[in-house]
Symmetry: C3
Subunit: 357 residues, 3 copies
């Protein structure tokens, strides 16, 4: 007769370069998950709203938006990689591959790329990982690296500073259906914003997206629907027992929620005519979000260029930023803007010349 | 290098009679949207709950309730027509057509019928529109007019008082599956309330529906799931910056939410044996709803009559009213009833003689 | 012209042993309901997450978890049996049968087994019922008894103490797909927790499940999605008019919500490799739950035994307990644990010898 409390997840000393984790669960994308997460994001791209439009553009049906693909796969890696993390430091080279449809089942796998103990604190260190998400036919839907600061369980445990000499190479580029002459794209052109074709963008412009969206405690079931079981998002009692230990002394909103929301808020200005996101070269959460915060976003156009091998498309290299406001402190006037999210994002965008005739 | 803030939507001076808007987006009805909106409404009609019952009654599967059809199509018209509205004044002659099923994709189109600048305020006026929603096979699922009070952007802009000499004519009547002898309807009669056949209703009776339902801040994701991006329903920061500008100084609940809820609350007494709503001749939101309000409804039976060409059905002409309560002011005793919704509604109702044998 | 307020549901004097209620509505399990309720529960069993895994294990697709099957069928019985109840006293001999899939339609039927007026209070008594849930092909998915304390409408009405001499006999045992040699179960073994095979359990052990989950006012739409219309879960105005009449003076969380959540919280330690729940011999809600409470669970292993006729499976007889914490009163130190749920639960569990090779 024993009393057993299992802790799930790994600590810094449990990781070493070259380890491979095949993560638990897997996730079939139901219409329920698709609906609650897609519409929460305020995306306006008809590929994620209108199955007929998606089929006209060569897809099998409603396309799962990149922010939801990322969230589903990322969440599967949480227990093994970051259940005992202090902070998620950086998303790196997050690339998108095969389109994901409602009904697809996604599974995830992670390789440990590097482990670096902190030089100043013996209780933590940084783990560098490479993760890949695949669907039931084996095709890669997303691949990304991330760096995460992880606690040690045994502060005295020796942890070597080590890194793979060669990172795992995963092929992952967007599969965008071919342009078809005579498909009649123009007949559905009214379904997306007419000022978001490649021809409409100029490097250097900054779009301040006009819409904002408050995050309520709906973030708790949203995070649950992703099977992200991290306790700092849903265990109120844990926080209340020791609020000073936790950022803000409150349940913190899982980063994937504002990540997804910033993508959606930018959509009507940037991505309404985008068939796919290509790569997020780097990204990070620069400030926490709590229930009650209203999230806003802006996008800087860094470069407008051709899409290799596709006359009908181009590439936008952008920086997507998220912000919220906080109440003024003594001497400050009015609410103060606080950055919460930073993402270098490249996405494919259609040319008006091919799609709006 | 420019900073760009796009405003979506039109102002009074942008409208003129005869203009046609093919609205953006379109919407495929997922099982997620169906579930959250149908069940939120507290409807009890088994056509919206039980696919086997719906098939027995000649439908292809679960039937999307009229309140959700209305909300999906209405929401698609918001950006073009009422993003810059001060108030939605009236729903007029809202008629229902082909049944809508999960998996159907709805698109919407609006014709401007009239524009009338305010005689007393040079910053606003009324736009009268005629909208129609169709599904992927082209069949009409809903058609309605509405009048909406819209702001001007340029107060000095000249706006003519003008109206189409002939309103668009759209054929839209409910497609109700034929009565089939020997179908065995009686075997499933226990699934709906037995006291809601045509024979049970008497003109002049008023039903005070016994159930109430609080609206929580769930109204924010519900509204988002309809792609209704109006900021007064979801941008808390916007409200907090200038609460006096906004009704109640709070996020206001999108009218489609109490509209849908009043239909649902009335269902066990009125519509449990209704195959379809026919027409809402006029309707309006007579008071605002906020998170925390408990919504109640009542139905007055104005007329009970035959359904043309159908021995098995009849028509109820009703008035559906919604109300809530507010705290008493000085001198008042107890909570005070406040009207929030008014709808003249005609619906088809089955006869016991045909369906409960 | 009359004003009509219909009350739905029965009172103590309306029941007599032998009565059979075929309940209203029925319910098709949509992907929306599946998603919101399954993921809310924090279950980790891949049968409820991953359609490919479910198919590998012989199921047709995503399997509806027992807590949701119970909630759908139970909720259908509420209006006829417990709309006018004071308290749900006990779940008895709740057994599971055919697997339930997304798209299945469930209907419910209840037989009155016994009626027992209170000897000390003339306004109430206990009704003992036997309910069964079936899907569209007629197969039984769940059967259970329960005892519920019901109000009388007319306190003077005579109610006999009566009981059926023989309770309805309903065959209901789990249909667990056969073990198939060479199926390749081991290739998917990483998807579930590796320490939850039958060989891992020892009678007498107690698992304190490490995760907790706050219940927010999301309980209101969750309960609505089950078509459970009981007003004490959703009518804020009703409570506010007379808070002393209601437990806690607040909207009380429907018991099915913590029932489901306790099953889910226990899943990673107990049921990750369980193909089916077999029987809940007895269960009850020993304390109320309100929005804001964080729910925790523990499981005691009472017995580990063979599964009749199946070499590949065993049976765990367990006691599942749910608890929350309340603020300390004078003289108490720290938050005080409060029991909220008790369930004697037997479940089938796979053997490592057969499934993790």
């Amino acid at each position: 007769m024993a009393t057993i409390t299992k802790k799930r997840g790994n600590y810094l000393e449990d990781f070493e370069p070259g380890q491979v984790f095949r993560h638990k669960g897997g996730k079939t994308v139901t219409e329920g998950l698709f609906c609650s997460f897609t519409d929460f994001s305020m995306t306006t791209n008809p590929l994620h709203k209108n199955a007929e439009y998606a089929k006209l553009h060569g897809y099998e049906g409603l396309v799962v938006p990149p922010g939801l693909v990322m969230n589903i796969v990322f969440s599967q890696t949480v227990e093994d990689i970051s259940e005992n993390a202090r902070a998620n430091l950086e998303y790196i080279n997050m690339r998108f591959g095969a389109p994901v449809y409602v009904g697809d089942t996604l599974e995830a796998e992670t390789t440990i790329v590097g482990v670096k103990p902190s030089s100043s604190n013996n209780d933590r260190g940084v783990v560098h990982v490479s993760s890949v998400g695949r669907k039931q036919d084996g095709s890669v839907v997303i691949a990304f690296e991330r760096k995460v600061q992880v606690w040690k369980s045994d502060f005295e445990a020796a942890v070597a500073d080590a890194e793979l000499t060669e990172k795992p190479q995963v092929e992952c580029t967007p599969e965008i259906p071919a342009y078809r002459d005579g498909a009649g794209y123009g007949d559905s052109a009214h379904l997306s914003n007419s000022d978001t074709y490649l021809e409409d963008f100029t490097a250097g412009d900054v779009y301040e997206h006009s819409r904002g969206r408050v995050v309520t405690d709906e973030h708790i079931p949203l995070t649950g629907q992703l099977d992200n079981t991290s306790q700092v998002h849903c265990n109120q009692f844990l926080i209340d027992q020791n609020p000073k230990k936790y950022i803000g002394g409150r349940l913190i909103v899982y980063g994937g929620v504002p990540f997804n929301l910033c993508l959606g808020l930018s959509c009507p200005d940037i991505a309404d005519n985008s068939p796919a996101d290509i790569v997020y070269t780097t990204g990070r959460h620069v400030g926490p979000v709590f229930a009650g915060d209203t999230v806003f976003a802006s996008t800087e156009i860094r470069e407008v260029r051709d899409y290799p091998g596709r006359d009908d498309l181009g590439v936008l290299a952008t920086t997507l930023r998220g912000h919220k406001f906080r109440a003024p402190k003594d001497g400050e006037e009015g609410p103060q803007k606080v950055d919460i999210f930073y993402l270098e994002r490249e996405l494919a965008v259609r040319r008006r010349s091919h799609y709006a005739r």
